[in-house]
Amino acid sequence: MWIALVITHGLVAFLLLGAITHQVVSVWAPVRAGASNFVARFRAVGSANYVNAVIVLYLVTALLGAIIYTKYRISARLTLEQGGYWKSFGAFELKEHFIALGVALLPAYWYFWRSSLAVDDTRTRKLLTTLLAFVVWWAFLAGHIANNIRGIGT
């Protein structure tokens, strides 16, 4: 069961990573018309369309991570400690805190994307999205590294 949960957690996290990366690129470097190549089309997505997907994927990923975390705490974490992988260990510790901070950002993220798309709120939207993208990227990489060192079932 744990292996299935870890794989599902990773797959959902990967979807989240794609959605938030699309959104953050499109808010910082939007392409309004004439997207003619792959990079331009990547930037040309409708940013607001990603909001609900990001929120649902974030919550599902965090929930799965919170369940798996119990298993990590009694197995993989010991391997990181005993092997002296302190930077990976520290990155994972930061991950858990960043994820918690990210959950608390979601109501504001939702509000500033869905309320009015007012010009006044553009900077708030951009920076909330950027901060959430940072959290998601950090969590993905730290989790991936920890799993490479000691995945559940290895």
Binding site: T70, I74, W86, P107
Partner: protein, 112 residues
């Protein structure tokens, strides 16, 4: 620019207060409850599990969410003129500051 409307004030305050309380909850171990994953034991506050490691992460989140929800509800219910100071940017600036504070708090792991 200010956070207009009750829900806006709630979301901005919630994100900011959660970020502050969560940092202090972790730094001082203010967990609302604890969990012992080896034996599946839940205990109130920061009581160590009877066997194996004790997890406080869920408890820190609960402490912070409760405090943030309380303060955010209070701010949301205040009359509009008393919340002119509430800048929407607090929703990202305070959590960003908390991220930096956590990096500082846990810097020891990266210096070994």
């Amino acid at each position: 620019m200010k956070a207009d409307g009750r829900f806006a004030r709630f979301t901005v305050t919630f994100a900011a207060v959660f970020a502050i309380v969560y940092y202090f909850a972790v730094a001082n171990n203010w967990a609302l409850f604890s969990y012992g994953p080896a034996i599946g034991q839940w205990t109130l506050f920061t009581q160590a599990a009877a066997a194996g490691p004790t997890m406080y992460w869920y408890g820190w989140i609960a402490t912070s969410a409760l405090a943030a929800a309380g303060v955010a509800t209070f701010v949301a219910l205040l009359p509009e003129h008393l919340t002119q100071w509430l800048w929407p940017g607090f929703a990202w600036l305070v959590p960003a500051g908390s991220i930096v504070a956590f990096a500082h708090l846990l810097r020891g792991y990266f210096a070994r």
